[in-house]
């Protein structure tokens, strides 16, 4: 133990900060700081609890249940449980990978992220307080994370927390752990599988139904853990038969397949494409691993005669364990249809079985895949004509899509266009079919109605690049912290979009054009690779992949989100020289006050997304979510009118300073793309902006507000500290408004603001809300 510490000290000169391997208590004070300002908001879905046998209990109007818990605290507990499940998912994934890779490559396999990354694993450094140099070192972080999960989940047991604030603190804690776990997973797979290492210029990969060569056997992967599908590539490469097969997939599994194959694997689409792909009849074999996979995958594949290989112990799907069977036996069982699927948690065997099965199935139909949602038009119209407009489908559809109107219009006019339009918005969840008293195959009707567009869809996604380079950080650190780069927009998460998928591109294009830094990952990254403009190009094809103003950097799959948080941390370290090691609160405080980064999830749906967002929140990064995000039940929303809550300690002037409400929310759900755009620009403002930076940020904020909201925003004056903050083109106009509408005093000769702002701008302004940080740099206790 001591030997180890000394060895580490030699290796890593950085001094240990105050909170290495923090438990629940260590960062509670930081959380309470955030929660004081960004008050939790609860929007209950259900107003009762039935988690213990004294219940069910009516908690409506914030009543207390049998255990004494009230509605708010019960919701905060549920959020904590969700974040635990989210973290456990990335953790289960990371642990699988790590154990497997260590077994294969050894504990001492080095972590080398290429010459441009010297500050590797910034989250692990900051949170855990270690600098991992080998796969074995990652285990130390892993074990700490597992320990914390048990502790936090413990707190969700009946009869623990009394305060919703403490549950929020725990949710933040386990979500910070979640970021550590994502980092472990992605670093492990990058170094072991030689995925792109912080490379801005990664190849483009094909996306969409249209790019799959249907004259080859088609192997389709779905899920999140490349560990199980990579051996398919290895095996085919070894056999020299890569070109004889199509390997395509959905969601993060294929995301990472494109990273290990240099863009060779093809992307069908995001998670919402599962039923589209299966019911199209294109796959010859399906490989599922874990997370976000349809829970009726086996049923769905069986109905289409597609053999299924389930690989992860997180989703064995009730299938027989074929681990010990010879390859021939497995292939035979699947090809003959003796078994609809097998559970095969042995990656190497999956690599052999999948191609053999695909080939045999392909031979059966000879590439003549007749099935395209319906065998013929008659079948389609038979289904459409069954509809009585009973509305059951509409009242169960997550988006209340007007299927009734699409059907009625088609019945009356033989025109499928209204139904086709639904395809652009439909997430193919299939609930409509469950609710339909006539058992209409509604999903198939919708897909068939838009068949040509869907089936010929083609696009390009830039392969996941992995981490951000230290050099990139060096270039953009100062302009971000000073504000000249108006912000970093990180579009991450799932595909439960409130609107047609193209709205995602519309939102982000605004920011790319305005030379914000845009980063993306997960299903958002995939969707961006599927939306083409009139020239047939995706946003990737029009923008560089750098982490730089005007760039669009795809970091990779869900677990690659860690590189986005990591980039914020690296700005504090590489640009501002703040020490990372076990120094979480200082870094988060730095990010909150200085780094104009905003997370954006247009279609978040899962507990993983909840944990990712909450982890960003604890780090001081606000997150904007689409309207479905309101169903996470909890938001963090500050109140501009509570002036006593908006303050910082200024280390320079040794005083407590009132500040503008920036950012004024850590988690907010918007309703429309217009609103998303304005909020994203608005939440990039930071107290530490220089005059030039603030001027640029306000320029965008004001322009976007005028463009999308029809006028200047209500609160723009709050962000003006001096005339130098004002957008140049509008300066006079704005000064007049400040005088006439807000009663500010203006010296019109000098065009100077004399009175009005919340505070004056000071070039040496050095804000913090953490007493210990103040003390560290000011050398004295903070002022009261």
């Amino acid at each position: 133990r001591i030997g180890k510490v000394i060895e580490e000290a030699e290796e890593w000169a950085e001094e240990m900060g105050p909170t290495p391997k923090p438990g629940i208590i260590e960062l509670r004070k930081w959380d309470m700081k955030l929660l004081e300002r960004y008050e939790p908001f609860y929007a209950p879905v259900q107003d009762f609890c039935n988690l213990c046998t004294m219940g069910p209990c009516d908690l409506s109007q914030n009543k207390k249940g049998a255990c004494g818990i009230d509605l708010k605290t019960a919701k905060a507990r549920l959020v904590t449980i969700a974040c635990c499940i989210g973290a456990a998912s990335h953790g289960g994934h990371a642990r699988h990978l790590l154990d497997h890779l260590i077994e294969e490559l050894g504990e001492d396999y080095p972590i080398d992220l290429g010459g441009n990354v010297n500050v590797e694993a910034p989250i692990i450094r900051t949170v855990v307080g270690i600098r991992p140099r080998t796969l074995g070192d990652l285990k130390e972080a892993m074990e700490w994370a597992e320990k914390e999960l048990m502790r936090v989940l413990h707190a969700t047991h009946i009869g623990n927390e009394e305060s919703y604030l403490d549950y929020e603190s725990k949710a933040m804690h386990i979500s910070m752990v979640d970021h550590v776990l994502m980092e472990i997973a992605d670093i492990a797979q990058i170094v072991a599988y030689n995925m792109p290492k912080a490379e801005p210029n990664v190849p483009l990969t094909d996306t969409g139904f249209g790019i799959v060569d249907k004259n080859k056997p088609v192997i389709v992967v779905v899920g999140h853990n490349v560990l199980y599908s990579k051996p398919i590539l290895d095996y085919l490469e070894e056999m020299g038969r890569l070109d004889d097969f199509e390997i395509a997939g959905l969601c993060c599994a294929v995301h990472d397949m494109t990273r290990v194959s240099g863009g060779r694997a093809k992307i069908f689409g995001p998670i919402s494409y599962q039923l589209r792909v299966i019911r199209s009849g294109i796959p010859d074999v399906m490989i599922s691993d874990e997370q976000c996979i349809r829970a009726d995958l086996l049923q769905a594949c069986k109905a289409m005669g597609i053999p299924l290989i389930a690989t992860s112990d997180a989703a064995a799907r009730g299938l027989p364990d074929a681990s010990d069977w010879p390859v021939e036996k497995i292939v035979n069982a699947l090809v003959t249809g003796e078994l609809p699927g097998v559970f095969l948690p042995v990656p190497e065997k999956v690599g052999q079985v999948a191609p053999l099965v695909a080939e045999a199935i392909f031979k059966k139909h000879g590439g003549n895949r007749k099935y395209r949602f319906f065998a013929n038009d008659e079948e389609l119209w038979n289904e459409i004509n069954k509809c009585t407009q009973c509305m059951n489908c509409v009242f169960t559809c997550p988006h209340n899509l007007r299927i009734d109107q699409g059907m009625a219009h088609a019945q009356k006019t033989k025109d499928l266009s209204k139904l086709a339009k639904l395809e652009e918005q439909c997430i193919a969840c299939g609930k409509c079919e469950q609710a339909c008293p006539k058992n209409i195959k509604i999903i198939n009707v919708i897909m068939a109605s838009n068949f040509d567009r869907l089936y010929n869809k083609k696009g390009k996604m830039r392969v996941g690049r992995g981490p951000i380079q230290d050099t990139e950080i060096r270039n953009v650190g100062q302009p971000i912290v000073m504000g000249q780069i108006p912000g970093v927009i990180a579009a991450v998460g799932c595909a439960n979009y409130p609107d047609e998928a193209k709205s995602l591109r519309e939102i982000l294009e605004e920011f790319v054009k305005r030379r914000y830094i845009v980063v993306t990952s997960g299903c958002h990254a995939i969707t961006l690779g599927m939306i083409t403009d009139e020239e047939g190009q995706t946003l990737y094809e029009k923008t560089p992949g750098d982490f730089d103003a005007g760039g669009l950097a795809n970091v990779g799959s869900c677990v690659a989100n860690s590189h986005i948080a990591g980039a914020a941390i690296k700005i504090a370290n590489i640009f501002a020289m703040r020490p990372l090691r076990g120094n979480y609160a200082e870094i988060a405080d730095y990010v909150l006050n200085r780094v104009g980064a905003v997370g954006f999830s247009w279609g978040p749906y899962s507990p993983k997304a909840a944990a990712i967002a909450t982890g960003f929140n604890r780090l001081g990064v606000p997150v904007v979510v689409g309207p479905h995000g309101a169903k996470y039940r909890r938001a963090y929303l500050g109140k501009y009118f509570k002036k006593e809550k908006w303050w910082v300690y200024d280390i320079k002037t040794r005083s407590k300073v009132p500040i503008e409400p920036a950012p004024d929310a850590l988690l907010v759900a918007v309703e429309t793309k217009e609103e998303a755009i304005v909020q994203l620009a608005r939440l990039c403002i930071r107290p530490n902006d220089t005059s030039l930076g603030r001027q640029i940020k306000l320029t965008h904020y004001l322009e976007l507000s005028q463009k999308y909201l029809g006028k200047l925003p209500d609160d723009w004056h709050l962000f003006v500290r001096s005339e130098a903050d004002l957008p140049l083109k509008m300066k006079d106009e704005l000064l007049h408004i400040l005088e006439s509408e807000y009663g500010w005093k203006i010296d019109w000769d000098k065009k100077k603001i004399l009175e009005g702002p919340i505070r004056r701008y000071d070039a040496g302004f050095n804000p913090t809300i953490v007493e210990e940080v103040y003390e560290k740099y000011a050398g004295e206790k903070p002022p009261q």
């Binding site: 908001f41 309207p627 109140k639 609103e675």
Partner: protein, 181 residues
């Protein structure tokens, strides 16, 4: 004055069958009830949502509300068409999420400084997004909420019934309100 069977109004089917709660569901109301509520209110407000961008008729109705002296909080980008038609919303930049958080704070003085609102009308929102906000207000505030939507909103205090089968009826109910203010 709730909607009764004999009035031949459509049944109040929830916008989402699975959005059930223990606490009372919204009373499905006729336009005249809404008129009375507004007239009795000390500090009413209409909050408009992003669906106004897709439905000009709702913009028209909102303008009439405004002309009858009901202040408007415009969210989701609905301010743009409203401003074009001469409305001066009390707020344009805050999301419904934020506005709801403000409404939950008894100390809030409203955007007009006159104190928190006692009657809040909602029009033009995505049903599932609005539903969560109504739920928050139902459980954590005493504000009277009224959903003037095509879909029946179970967590409002008062809501139009389910009018999805008859958009004309929806519009005419809205008309009836603004005409009687």
């Amino acid at each position: 004055m709730a909607v009764k069977k004999e009035d031949k109004y459509p049944v109040a089917r929830r916008y989402q069958i699975a959005d059930v709660q223990v606490s009372r569901e919204a009373t499905a109301v006729k336009p005249q009830v809404v008129v009375n509520l507004i007239k009795k209110a000390k500090h009413p407000v209409l909050i408009t949502g992003g669906q106004l961008l897709k439905d000009e008729k709702l913009v028209e109705i909102a303008v009439k509300f405004y002309e009858k002296g009901i202040p408007i909080i415009a969210t989701g980008g609905s301010s743009k068409p409203l401003i074009e038609k001469g409305v001066n919303p009390q707020s344009v930049v805050f999301t419904l999420h934020q506005v709801t958080q403000f409404l939950l704070d008894e100390e809030w003085k409203g955007f007009d400084g006159k104190g928190n609102y006692d009657l809040v009308l909602f029009m033009g929102f995505l049903p599932y997004y609005l539903s969560r906000m109504l739920s928050a207000l139902k459980h954590f505030s005493k504000i009277t909420t009224v959903a003037l939507e095509e879909f029946y909103q179970p967590h409002a205090k008062f809501s139009f019934t389910n009018l999805t089968a008859n958009k004309d009826m929806y519009y005419s109910m809205l008309e009836e309100i603004v005409n009687n203010l």
